[in-house]
Symmetry: C2
Subunit: 125 residues, 2 copies
Amino acid sequence: MKDILEQLKNKGYKLTQPREKVLGILLHNHTALSVQDIHKKIDSVDKASVYRVLNLFEELGLVNIENFNNEKLYCLTRDPHHHIICKKCGYSEEVPCTYEHHDFNNFDNVQHQMTLTGVCNNCNK
Amino acid sequence: MKDILEQLKNKGYKLTQPREKVLGILLHNHTALSVQDIHKKIDSVDKASVYRVLNLFEELGLVNIENFNNEKLYCLTRDPHHHIICKKCGYSEEVPCTYEHHDFNNFDNVQHQMTLTGVCNNCNK
DNA sequence: TTTACTATTGCAAATCATTCGCAATTGTGA
DNA sequence: TCACAATTGCGAATGATTTGCAATAGTAAA
Ligand SMILES: [Mn+2]
Ligand SMILES: [Mn+2]
Ligand SMILES: [Zn+2]
Ligand SMILES: [Zn+2]
């Protein structure tokens, strides 16, 4: 927590309520959270600000993003990992990243985002 | 082409103009196309119908989907592959899929979707 | 071929996620 | 404490995707 807040400050960003609160939620959750999920947990912060904070975190490489059902899901970048999401109920778990980057012809600065989907055993009757 | 059309018919789906035209475009393109991309190439078909056709193709497992800039990109499922997309200009290339599925704890019917992003050498000055 | 029936389409309106403009507020360093 | 720029909240705009419904077009049987 302090780590990342220091990091923000050193780069010239202010330490604001929205930034601290969103960060707090990401720290206490290892699941993939949508903007709406995050916003529900802090109605003191406007949804537009949640978007702005997450966009900043993305620029700074603090979060990784996955897509599911036409919305972005956010999770702090700790050890490289992805998520497996139940397509019936939305339940998600972390999955360590095993992807090894090749040398891509003519592309620089390559990143990847992966989402696994399936049916959790709860939803499997 | 005939292959897939037969397949549709055998499952009880009608062989309609929108379905044939969208399929035609997907067959002639190995890049990842958005609904808007596809729609531009066939203004004789309403955009809502393009969405419906692609949703059907998705259900039937005919296409794989990636996300980029808040929109879905579609490509026919031929050999398993993904795309690497230039985040500056949108140019994309195919990349063979090398991902090996593990055994996921409690999940069945696991699928994955991956998108690579980077900067193409054209955009690299 | 023609008919009859239903799936599918086009169109316009509705949804839903995400972004934006702008005036009011807040964090920071002096 | 002050001054000023960065950031927020709010409401409106945007853009992708979905939906309701009446009109249309495949299909299979007559
Ligand atoms: Mn996680
Ligand atoms: Mn392709
Ligand atoms: Zn489930
Ligand atoms: Zn490029």
